[in-house]
């Protein structure tokens, strides 16, 4: 039972430790399945499987691929192909993923790309293959083509939040921050309460504040702070959100001081969009630091529970140390 719940937990693909642990269970799961099929008639086992079991298989497949267990991965793909037809769109997409992951050289990747084009010429709305093609273009380091095909895809399927996020990531990798921010806003219109996307948007606004002039950068920072605030409002101990809030508030406060505005006289604004940020910058910075400090301390003491997020924790600690030393 515990094993099952572990597999069914929502996946966190950026979390390598958890992925690895999950993948280590794959041979065990496969073995258990073969036992079950020996004990019961074949059809019975297949009928008993629920939708969530196949979701679990899919997730196991992803973690196996990530941790290099190709043998188990191909077993899982066979299972999925056995249940849903081999020609099913999603199964072909997963198969493509597997082939790309195990491809040996550049030329075979090119070959897969041509095969995807062929598949798409038969059925232009084969979404899994469309997405695989874009991912493949990206891994072949042809981001411009990837972006243009992703834009085409989103023109046809504008309700796909993940695709919008991917496009934002692509734009950001090309240094086009305002486009990336637009894409994340679109994604947020579909999933308005996703605190990680809100924090991501805050991060993009924060990083684009560096590349604009001082007036514009203040405005961008204020918006960034708003998104970080909204993110931590939705998730009360979101480390990344607080981290961003600390960074953005300290930078904005510094900018203010550099330009000679005191706390009591906020700068005159052309647009009075976000005056509350201007008034509250110092208390907000102090609040965010306290909160970040508290989270870091709590998570360090409960080491076991937060084992998976050590890198974030270390980064947060380092930020706090840096701020402390600069204040002294």
């Amino acid at each position: 039972m515990t094993q099952k719940t572990f597999i069914l937990e929502p996946d966190n693909r950026s979390n390598l430790v958890a992925t690895f642990r999950l993948a280590q269970r794959a041979p065990m799961v496969l073995q258990k399945q073969s036992h079950a099929e020996e004990n019961f008639p074949d059809t019975f086992v297949h009928n008993g499987k629920e939708a969530e079991d196949y979701g679990a298989i899919e997730r196991l497949l992803f973690s196996c691929l990530q941790s290099g267990d190709d043998k188990s991965a191909s077993c899982f793909i066979e299972q999925l192909a056995g249940r849903f037809d081999t020609l099913d769109e999603k199964v072909t997409g997963l198969k493509g993923l597997f082939e790309e992951a195990t491809a040996e050289d550049h030329s075979s990747l090119e070959q897969y790309l041509r095969r995807y084009d062929l598949l798409l010429s038969k059925n232009p709305v084969n979404l899994p293959i469309l997405k695989r093609r874009i991912a493949l273009l990206r891994s072949l380091s042809r981001p411009v083509e990837a972006i243009s095909s992703l834009v085409n895809l989103l023109d046809a399927v504008p309700t796909d939040a993940e695709a919008w996020c991917e496009l934002a990531d692509l734009y950001q990798s090309q240094g086009m921050n305002s486009q990336a921010a637009f894409c994340l806003e679109e994604a947020l219109l579909i999933v308005p309460n996703a605190w990680n996307v809100l924090a991501l948007l805050g991060e993009i606004l924060y990083s684009s504040a560096f590349s604009s002039d001082s007036e514009g950068s203040c405005q961008l920072l204020e918006r960034s702070i708003q998104y970080f605030c909204r993110s931590v409002e939705l998730c009360t101990d979101y480390l990344r959100g607080f981290y961003g809030l600390v960074l953005a508030t300290s930078l904005l406060g510094e900018n203010r001081r550099l330009r000679g505005y005191s706390q009591d006289h906020p700068p005159p604004r052309k647009t009075n969009t976000s005056t509350s940020v201007a008034h509250n910058i110092d208390p907000l910075a102090a609040f965010a630091r306290n909160k970040l400090d508290e989270i870091v301390r709590r998570r360090s003491s409960e080491h076991k529970l937060w084992e998976f997020d050590q890198s974030e924790l270390i980064a947060a600690k380092e930020l706090l140390d840096r701020l402390d030393s600069s204040n002294k």
Partner: protein
């Protein structure tokens, strides 16, 4: 009847219970299960869009709906106005339509349009699945069990229930508490939903599977015979009257106040 202070008694063979109430109930449950599986087998999932333009026509409407529902949680004033103007003009110009040249023409007759025909067939199949077994069982009960009084309810009822509980038995003086076989059938027909829910799990267990494999493609907001252009015009009007407000204004104060009340979580 309780009013008269006289308990009405009817001498019944106790075997009636085993030979009528029991069979009717069992048959009703079995047909319910059979119907469920038959529907699952006959049901074909809605056809996914076959071209990118068609997909855009279907999903374009959701952009407006999403903007209307969620803009206040995300967008600043400028980006909201920008999106609103873009969507309104796109809706009004028919930019999302599958074939913009056919705008304004009356929609295809669902009887001649193959896609519409298919959807109608689907609906018809569903209705048939309900109708045919019901007619069969109803006539079966009428042929074998009509006119039997089979149960006595243990609680008194008002006279209005007579038509509900004693259909098929035309006696004016019979106490309302007696239930006829035909009425037992009707009670089963409408009252077994929770039993089916218990036996079959959630009703659509099988349909979920098909949708899970392909969630985005199957959605189609348009009924057959509906003109997408009209719906877009409608949505444009809805968007036009929208006022912008944003919950991000003052979020900092709200967050600080919120956390001030709670020392730690």
């Amino acid at each position: 009847m309780a009013l008269q202070g006289v308990e009405q008694t009817i001498l019944r063979d106790p075997a009636l219970f085993y030979w009528i109430v029991f069979p009717i109930t069992v048959v009703m449950i079995l047909t319910g299960i059979l119907r469920h599986y038959a529907t699952v087998l006959m049901n074909n999932p809605p056809k996914p869009a076959s071209t990118l333009a068609e997909s855009r026509e279907r999903l374009g409407l959701f952009r407006g709906v999403n903007l209307r529902n969620n803009a206040h949680a995300v967008l600043s004033k400028e980006s909201f106005e920008m999106r609103k103007n873009y969507l309104i003009s796109a809706y009004q110009n028919g930019a999302f339509l599958k074939d913009p040249e056919r705008r304004g023409q009356p929609p295809a007759n669902p009887m001649t349009d193959p896609a519409g025909m298919e959807a109608m067939m689907g609906m018809m199949k569903g209705n048939m699945m309900m109708m045919i077994p019901q007619t069969l069982i109803m006539s079966w009960i009428n042929a074998f069990f009509s006119g039997f009084v089979i149960l006595k309810l243990p609680f008194p009822l008002t006279i209005r229930f007579k038509s509900m509980l004693q259909s098929g038995v035309m006696t004016r003086d019979l106490d309302v508490r007696w239930v006829s076989s035909l009425s037992w059938y009707f009670l089963n027909l409408f009252g077994l939903q929770s039993v089916f829910g218990f036996i079959l799990g959630s009703d659509n267990a099988a349909n979920h599977m098909a949708q899970q494999m392909n969630p985005a493609a199957g959605i189609n907001p348009f009924q057959p015979g509906q003109d997408p252009d009209k719906m877009y015009q409608n949505e444009a009007e809805n968007l036009e009257v929208m006022e912008h407000f944003c919950i991000l204004d003052g979020v900092e104060e709200r967050v600080m106040q919120h956390y001030a009340g709670h020392v730690s979580y």
